[in-house]
Symmetry: C2
Subunit: 228 residues, 2 copies
Amino acid sequence: MTTGAPPARRTQADRRAQTRSALLEAAARGLSKYGYANLALERVAGEAGYTRGALYHLFANKEDLALAVVNWVEESWNAEVRPLVTAEADPVDALIALARGHVVYCRRDVADVLMNLRVEFTGQDHPVGRAVTESIHRLADDCAVLIAAGRESGAIPPGPPPREMAFAYLSVLEAVGIQVAGKAPYDVDLAERAVRGVLGLPPAPVSPAVWGAAAPMRPARTAPEVHE
Amino acid sequence: MTTGAPPARRTQADRRAQTRSALLEAAARGLSKYGYANLALERVAGEAGYTRGALYHLFANKEDLALAVVNWVEESWNAEVRPLVTAEADPVDALIALARGHVVYCRRDVADVLMNLRVEFTGQDHPVGRAVTESIHRLADDCAVLIAAGRESGAIPPGPPPREMAFAYLSVLEAVGIQVAGKAPYDVDLAERAVRGVLGLPPAPVSPAVWGAAAPMRPARTAPEVHE
DNA sequence: ATGGTAACATACAGACATGTATGTATGTGA
DNA sequence: TCACATACATACATGTCTGTATGTTACCAT
């Protein structure tokens, strides 16, 4: 190519995909920081490098954009954390793996979008709030199955009904996830502690060195701690 | 008094106090349900039985009202929960009593005001967010002292720095408090489980009957379970 | 009873955000 | 090259909310 060549032509499909992606990311960051009510579309578009016209071309309205973000976040969580869970045959190991994986997921800056929206729409009937609630319910259903299995095998002691237990487990995990996110080396182990407590399990057998310098290797039966 | 007597004259001070109280309660309910951004003062005033004129007569602006609510909630929490904590000489018992007392406090409908505001203003610099943060920091400082004392006595195993531990403890307690509030009989015991887990303590020695019908009596060394 | 102040209610003004309408730029197939 | 459709930008219209100004009611001291 010569030095004076014009920029390469991008297809409309490519342009559309890039615009959409940029807007979703900007909206997610905005929802994370400002919530839904305070999310100004002029700002979202600006931070994505476009204008509201482009935004309204791709999304019907503010609600449509937020719902798209909710789906986007759920998908990215499923892509990163679910494999860790399904890789475990034992229910307790699966629940612990989920907790550890979730805390690692919380190291990214949009991890609290769903929690923020859930808190914001609690007690209100709104499409975005409903979407978040449904997302969490799907996850809670899966956790309830694991909890019930763990109880049946005797690995998990008795407690509230499995579904209630699952909601408590998730709320604790969510809170710890956000509170200690990124505070390696102990964010992951602290999350495990918290969910073991809620489930009624005794503390994991670890040496005191865990709370010191570098995180040590995990026992062989749990998920890997670091993911790239 | 005769049947046709006019209503009793109330002093201006009494009228002012009643108006202020009604507005604070309505605002607290509004902040709990809608957060700050979505809190419409027209609605607050209406639900309190007044108009925005009365509201602006008593509070400089929306921010002033919200700050007053934050203080009001903090004071009511301190009045109800702190005595349970200070009544315990042992640090672990104090932390457990705090958790149990907090969950009982969460049975009222404005218990989540501070959490909602904290979530809403995370990442932003706003006077209301700062007030909430300071309130939580004061509590975390006290918890950190208890945690440090428990570690020194050997009752609490090692973990992250006491202050970090205190924030994790509070975030877990807050999450469980809101998630299971009012779901007697197990909301209080579930909260205890959660915080024991975070602190690294083994499960409390309880019989399986706890998760059945009525809550049994607690062992003598912990705070009473029911408060009127 | 009267004048003054506080407690409240109603009207006004401006800012901000959303959604819609219209204009401009870019890709695409014939 | 040209007509068309899509991708985006800019302008317009409307509603909502906050804070301020003004009006009315109630208490209070003289």
